[in-house]
């Protein structure tokens, strides 16, 4: 990666940089240490343990490779900036991650915001239970002649498995410092940090060839294993340890179930069902709180500020825009917490292995499983998670089909339409709901198959995946990861959705139009009613007196209530009329002929058009157009929306229209932030455009097929 490339790509990488407290560009006297290791060696756990929340997440310029830089507070040594590099098996592989590591060690690449140049030292995290293979990477790094230290991680697991490594002998053989540690419990970290600060250039040079390196690793492994009992880290017992075969036997027995074609699938479906249940059940509470908080905040803004355009902009554009993002955070955070915990146990690797069998026929690797799963909360983190897929072609395929997965923003539309379709039949509504999820997954897989055979034609790379030993997850690591991901989501999606909300507010608020005649009449009636000049037959049952006489005899409070009711109706009528006459409404009316074959009238089309940027605004837009109020969660408002009439007096939401709308929203790409993230992660706008056109065409065709098919069957 050259600097020119970095500068060129840097234009696309903006918005991803996130600064956490305590971390910035390194000052003079700060050591920069690269943290490396094979995948699943506990590197991330070690990073989280050393840095906690004192880290920032950015990317390497010109790449989509995530870069985390953390600040380590070390006593008696210079402050350390730790750069978390991607996990790799070798520096020499033809893989994105290996290339990033090579360039960082050579000083050609630094995380965004970090000074250029080689790191001052390298810390290689090694899995003590798998030393021989990990030593190959150690040898490759030692050959770079940078000050190096080796962190012998998971030493507790190794001791429990009966593996005894002599760190002093290993240090002699490698010619660099070796420190035993246990990142999960935090033991042995102080000497390691001290060693990082005092790392020296290794005095041994490993062989330069791959074969030579493997023999060298095997030789060192045999020299360092079983020489003598390794000094025990406090708390990690070396007595009465079960044998390695017993530990591996347990892993094998569990794998026999978890990776079994049938039983494994049953377990997998059970875990996924439990996970989704927990996410959607538990997230309901914080989502309700957030909804309430932003409703109060919007109301407070309306109370505090004088009536006017700026007040509307703040309460309806800014506050609701921020609220629209923050409300999804609980689901996304829970999803990441559970994924992180599952990953830490070692199960996620088995799930990816299991899913590889199912996804492979569609051209997707098992690695795609986590991005597709994450996309069920929100496509943005899902697409970003596709960075972990080593093969570019498969990564692009995953990115292109990820938005087909049902994200949280689609749920309000599903709720509205399934409620209208299956009123008083919750069982059928639930089946339709699940059907929407299945349709999204199915459409994604079929799309992957078609795109993989056309625009992304190529040889599928076999999935090579290490199945780590099972272990208890670290809640601390999961929390740090969750925090990190949630902040990235808020930063990326939040600013985008806020900007879109403000634009939509403007388009939905202008131009101003005179109120409709009916609203003016209602206001006039309300005014007369307040004065007692107008009667209302609902107030009294007396059939003998004239209306005016009745009104004059009606109780004052009743007259005021009725007048207020009329004024509220006039307000709603005016709001609906203003929305329909706004720029957004006019756009909807203009493109209505395009959506007419799907059964949509101008009201539905306005809803579809305004939700092009963010699908979650569909229900609130429909609520405003039909009822004049934005409270789309009110059951009365939803019933009113369901009973909306077209200009010719027929119902807007017929059975055929509802099915057509449901299918359209399952398949359509109605999310601008997703397009932006696709363009950035895929490396070009053409991929985002392909995604938009592909999904829009499929959604339109499927909705057309459904509507016209039902119409042919006589179902209107």
């Amino acid at each position: 990666m050259t600097q020119t490339e970095c500068d060129r790509c840097g234009e696309q990488g903006d918005g991803e940089l996130l600064t956490a407290a305590g971390v910035g560009a390194p000052a003079a006297g700060v050591m920069r240490i690269a943290l490396m290791g094979n995948p699943n060696t506990g590197k991330t756990t070690l990073f989280n343990r050393l840095c906690g929340l004192r880290h920032k997440t950015s990317n390497f310029p010109g790449t989509t490779q995530e870069a985390r830089v953390g600040s380590v507070r070390a006593e008696g040594s210079a402050p350390i900036h730790l750069i978390d590099l991607p996990g790799v098996y070798s520096l020499e592989l033809d893989q994105h991650e290996s290339a990033v590591c090579r360039e960082v060690l050579a000083g050609n690449l630094s995380p965004r915001g970090e000074a250029a140049g080689s790191p001052d030292a390298v810390c290689i995290v090694v899995d003590s239970t798998n030393l021989a293979r990990n030593l190959v990477l150690v040898g490759e790094v030692l050959a770079r002649r940078l000050p190096t230290v080796v962190a012998l991680n998971m030493v507790d697991l190794a001791q429990r498995a009966g593996i005894r490594i002599d760190p002093e002998e290993l240090s002699r053989q490698l010619g660099c410092g070796v420190f035993e540690c246990c990142a999960r419990s935090g033991e042995g970290l102080d000497p390691l940090v001290g060693g990082m600060g005092a790392g020296s250039i290794p005095n041994r040079t490993p062989p330069g060839t791959r074969e030579g390196l493997e023999s060298w690793a095997d030789e060192i492994f045999s020299l360092c294993i079983g020489h003598r009992h390794a000094p025990s880290i406090e708390g990690a017992s070396t007595q009465n340890t079960p044998s390695r075969s017993r530990l591996l036997g347990l892993t094998d027995r569990l794998d026999g179930v978890f990776t079994h074609p049938l039983m494994g699938m049953v377990v997998f479906l059970g875990i996924m069902a439990a996970m989704l249940f927990v996410i959607f059940k538990l997230a309901t509470y914080p989502m309700d709180w957030i909804d309430g908080i932003f409703a109060v905040l919007g109301g407070w803004v309306e109370q505090v500020l004088p009536a006017g355009i700026l007040r509307d902009l703040l309460s309806k554009g800014v506050v609701s825009g921020i609220g629209a993002t923050v409300i999804f955070v609980p689901q996304i955070a829970l999803m990441f917490l559970l994924i992180s915990l599952l990953e830490d146990t070692g199960y996620l690797a088995r799930a990816a292995f299991l899913m590889d069998r199912l996804l492979r026929p569609f051209g997707l690797p098992g690695h795609s499983f986590v991005p597709l799963l994450s996309s069920h909360a929100c496509a943005l983190p899902g697409i970003m998670a596709a960075r972990a897929i080593p093969d570019r072609r498969q990564r692009l395929l995953t990115i292109l089909v990820a938005p087909f997965m049902t994200c949280s923003a689609r749920l309000p539309v599903y709720v509205l339409v399934t409620t209208l379709l299956f009123k008083d039949r919750p069982g059928l509504a639930a089946i339709a709901f699940i059907g929407c999820y299945a349709l999204g997954v199915g459409a994604g897989l079929v799309s992957a198959l078609i795109l993989g055979g056309t625009v992304l034609k190529g040889q599928a790379r076999p999935m090579i995946l290490e199945l780590p030993t099972y272990k208890l997850p670290s809640f601390r690591t999961a929390l740090v990861t969750t925090w990190d991901r949630s902040i990235v989501f808020l930063k990326n999606a939040g600013t985008n959705i806020l900007a879109i909300s403000i634009v939509l507010w403007w388009l939905g608020s202008y131009p101003h139009v005179p109120p409709p005649e009916a609203a003016t009449q209602m206001r006039q009636m309300a005014a007369e009613m307040r004065d007692g000049r107008l009667a209302d037959s609902n107030i009294h049952d007396s059939a003998t007196a004239s209306p005016i006489e009745r009104s004059s005899t009606a109780p004052f409070a009743d007259r005021q209530d009725r007048a207020a009711e009329l004024e509220a109706k006039a307000d709603r009528l005016e709001a609906a009329h203003a929305k329909a006459s706004s720029f957004a409404g006019r756009m909807g009316r203009f493109v209505q002929p395009v959506f007419a074959p799907l059964g949509y009238d101008w009201q539905l089309t306005v809803g579809v058009v305004t939700s092009f940027a963010a699908r979650e605004v569909f229900v609130s837009t429909m609520a405003v157009i039909v009822t004049g109020t934005e409270d789309a969660e009110d059951e009365g408002v939803l019933a009113e929306v369901g009973g909306a009439l077209r200009d010719d007096g027929t119902a807007v939401f017929t059975t055929a229209t509802c099915w057509s709308l449901l299918v359209y929203y399952v398949l359509a790409m109605q999310c601008l932030p997703t397009l932006a993230v696709t363009a950035r992660e895929a490396g070009g706008m053409k991929w985002a455009m392909l995604q938009l056109v592909w999904m829009s065409v499929i959604a339109y065709a499927a909705a057309l097929l459904v509507y016209q098919g039902l119409a042919l069957m006589g179902i209107s």
């Binding site: 918005g15 006017g308 700026l310 509307d312 900007a499 403000i502 507010w505 403007w506 131009p511 706008m685």
Partner: protein, 59 residues
């Protein structure tokens, strides 16, 4: 078409919406809208070689 052009708040709100729109466009087209705006010729920049702030004469 009735826009409240005499209300200063309208202009503040419209400016805010324009900034937001620019952000949205920039988000979708980070390197500029295709076929819109000036295209840079060849992406090259002419530079003048100087030594101690004085231009170096061509040989």
């Amino acid at each position: 078409m009735d826009l409240p052009v005499r209300d200063w708040q309208f202009w503040v709100a419209s400016a805010t919406a324009l900034v937001a729109l620019r952000y949205v466009v920039k988000m979708i087209f980070p390197s500029g809208i295709p076929f819109v705006g000036k295209r840079r010729k060849g992406g090259a920049t002419r530079a003048v070689l100087t030594v101690e702030r004085k231009p170096v004469e061509k040989p």
